[in-house]
Symmetry: D2
Amino acid sequence: MVWIIEWDTPTYGHIKAVKRVMYQGRSKYQEIWLVETYEFGKLLLLDGKSQSSEHDEFVYHEALVHPAMLLHPRPQRVLILGGGEGATLREVLKHRSVEEVVMVDIDEDVVKVSRELWGELSAGAFEDPRVRLIIGDALDYIFGSPGKFDVIIADLSDPLEAGPAYKLYTLETYRRIAELLDGGVFVTQAASPTNTPQTHAIIYNTARSAFRFAAYYHAFMNSFSGMWGFVIASNELDPRGMRAEEAERRLRERGVATRFYDAAAHLHMFSVPRHLRELIERERRVSTMSSPAYMPA
Amino acid sequence: MVWIIEWDTPTYGHIKAVKRVMYQGRSKYQEIWLVETYEFGKLLLLDGKSQSSEHDEFVYHEALVHPAMLLHPRPQRVLILGGGEGATLREVLKHRSVEEVVMVDIDEDVVKVSRELWGELSAGAFEDPRVRLIIGDALDYIFGSPGKFDVIIADLSDPLEAGPAYKLYTLETYRRIAELLDGGVFVTQAASPTNTPQTHAIIYNTARSAFRFAAYYHAFMNSFSGMWGFVIASNELDPRGMRAEEAERRLRERGVATRFYDAAAHLHMFSVPRHLRELIERERRVSTMSSPAYMPA
Amino acid sequence: MVWIIEWDTPTYGHIKAVKRVMYQGRSKYQEIWLVETYEFGKLLLLDGKSQSSEHDEFVYHEALVHPAMLLHPRPQRVLILGGGEGATLREVLKHRSVEEVVMVDIDEDVVKVSRELWGELSAGAFEDPRVRLIIGDALDYIFGSPGKFDVIIADLSDPLEAGPAYKLYTLETYRRIAELLDGGVFVTQAASPTNTPQTHAIIYNTARSAFRFAAYYHAFMNSFSGMWGFVIASNELDPRGMRAEEAERRLRERGVATRFYDAAAHLHMFSVPRHLRELIERERRVSTMSSPAYMPA
Amino acid sequence: MVWIIEWDTPTYGHIKAVKRVMYQGRSKYQEIWLVETYEFGKLLLLDGKSQSSEHDEFVYHEALVHPAMLLHPRPQRVLILGGGEGATLREVLKHRSVEEVVMVDIDEDVVKVSRELWGELSAGAFEDPRVRLIIGDALDYIFGSPGKFDVIIADLSDPLEAGPAYKLYTLETYRRIAELLDGGVFVTQAASPTNTPQTHAIIYNTARSAFRFAAYYHAFMNSFSGMWGFVIASNELDPRGMRAEEAERRLRERGVATRFYDAAAHLHMFSVPRHLRELIERERRVSTMSSPAYMPA
């Protein structure tokens, strides 16, 4: 039998049987596998790390997208950094108010494999006329002249030392994002608060240093065998100030259909148990271009 | 290197390196291992299933004990079914109002190994004069004449077909527990809502059939690589009616120190995201003595 | 990382990392994987069992083919049962005396995958004008009217209860093979004498019951993590009577180039240490159509 | 379930289930585990590497001891370097001619654990009046004034960079051993010719540089999942000159009972297939004190 083993640390890992290999190849940037598993259905792996599973990708993508989109009273122009699978795009487009989404991903092959071999992930989003897909470096894009955005969503790989993504988690980047937002909302995937709490906390600290308001929140991802963290920030809108019922009301107003996210999910994610709050708040580091913080490999 | 592999299903498992074996033996009822791991510290396994880890046993035991204890305005007499490690007992005794705790566990060896080799688990609880420890069958005990209790806590192994515990998850047992409670509060560990949602849902359905009020709630257990479920029920007190702030207020009043549980943890646990609610509420089965529901092995 | 785990028993297995998946699909008969590994190079698996690795397939195929071919003074007409990869064919064709080889394999896809994606395995053998490839059931073929052969080689999957191959390991089949040979030589792969000694011994016993002479011999296969067994038999030629030097002399005469097989390899394979001889000779069962012996799965 | 995983390389390993842990502790020199497995019975591991299993320790110990003892016409004084389990000692003492055996092992705990918890390994050998056990460094001992020996047997851990054993595999050590032997016979365990052929070949080259005659030979060890290598050497007696029948004759004369070793096993071990001979003979390095060769970890 063929298995995927993912290690959280050298002494703790998770093992999943593979039913079928749908794609395996090396892009310019990373090793891409698309497999079918027994428990999680289709599973996309980049450099051996699970990214999205059929079983619960909706949890991750709804958790990433909706709190930020709903915190903004009327998001029209949205920027997605990364997000190659197209599922973040799919969730953004559900919000009626959206007029334009720019998505910048460096790896054309991830977009292609997802679009062609696992169409439900993007569910037609790439064909939506409101979408502009740019294959390129997100860092170059935001430090260019991209104009203003209401919401910016970072759906990037983890800030590993070996990878190119870590610069997108620094104070300088977050300050530039704040400029592009002009009071709008930023959200980023922020590593696992249970497996790599330091990394999660540093992303939060960095966002807190760049924005007036910042908050972390967590959702359980079965295919990642742990809680997953997100950080949301803004210079005008306090994410802790939005009540769950208000979020759900806006969701309905905008005609957004969800499977995971609702008022209860919102409360669940933003109500972080004591020991995790303490663990996060004990960390004091901020990631900067000159002294970046990497996730332990 | 020596490893523990735990399988959620035949095609999905978790692997942890073992630093040291502190105890290994077979009791009359089960295989007992107490090991030291790298990520989770000490780890107790019964029949190859993780029960408690140094790293996060407090999450499980606080989640199991405090919502039920706090729902009751003044718990004096408490019954624990199972709970051999002594950590459930430790949490119960933190509540100042408690005058007597009866604990009934079938396996003397689990109590002994935990008490002697991992003293922090019970933290002296077995020496507390309020405690009466009975080594015996919990079913016999509750169908005998044990008197009335304010809170009954089921800290039992899962309802496997092979094991003896499944009878303690049936409608008949829950009805008897309701009699013994006389308006008090029952809580039980209730399997994983993410790994074995049917089992979790059946425990909830069974409690709902035996009690006027019942609710499920969930906490993330890193050492179980998933969310863990609990079911709380009562004929007089509605667990969904207790506000998180009120729970935390009572906690402080009673002088209970916690690491995990507080108002935010309470909200987190009782706010169950939509897809999990739907998954649980789709299940209609109830477990009875004549037609018991087993957890898939 | 992606891994292949092969279990010899439920409590003993071998784990190999996969670098690349070259083919994965289900034929009419079995699951076929062709992968690239780190230690063993290309590796073909049928129903999850390693069949041939780039690293040491020559050991298996030379061990299977040459002792039988060399025992016969002048093999002209040869029959291969199974052997879909084409490597057994490749070795047979090295013998100058060979005029015709019939190969009967049930699974066209194995032939195709091997031929197209791993050409070195057959090394052009399928294009040799002396070869007749029949896609079909080997049992039907030999119980038809195939004519006489000098050497018959069974390169089949193991006699598993689930699979179709077990009938080809029975006394009735071996008697029919003896008829078709008319004094020639039969050889069959015969499972691992170290991992499944009973199965190996039963194949030997069955051959011994059908032929006047029979012998077992063993070669170490690194990719199978154990010794591998073969059984050679004939009604006229005693395999134990051929001296290693004579075998090597014939090899040279016929212009056969080898990497593994020579006089030393011959002696190595036919000199079976005492405890293995005793283990094999303790087994008394013979496999028959009415009471077939299966390999433990 | 608890498992032992042993890695031959970072991408190839073997996995065995553990039934019972009989001992686990850290000595001054290494981590010692004694476990019971399903396939291999008792299994002793030092620093995570299998040393001896109930199932096939006799193969290793008979293969190590008897060729050297039988090559010598009348071994009276024998030195064992390492050999803490006592099984090498057990085999040596079977030879009637033996009058004194000195055994020098650095790790008292290995001797103790083996003797007390797995008595069949030494089978009373430590109580034999002919035995002198020295707990100490074998290198110090042989470079002291130990007198002359007829046979010297190195039953040491592998020449890892991290460990202390590698100095015992150098040219200087082998020359000193040749002095102590005065024409007698040296034999050493010599790593796996299939898993670490370079290390095996270097040990052979080093022995060949220190002695007039040297030979390698191999036996299959199921619990090591591969062939195991040995190197035998002497300044007077040519190991390749001893016929298998003569070895077996001497065995009987001396009243030595064996399970693995006999004339066929001797032939099997000393007849090394072509590709392994070529692999070994391609290596040219010799290990010296100033430029030692380590086994890849």
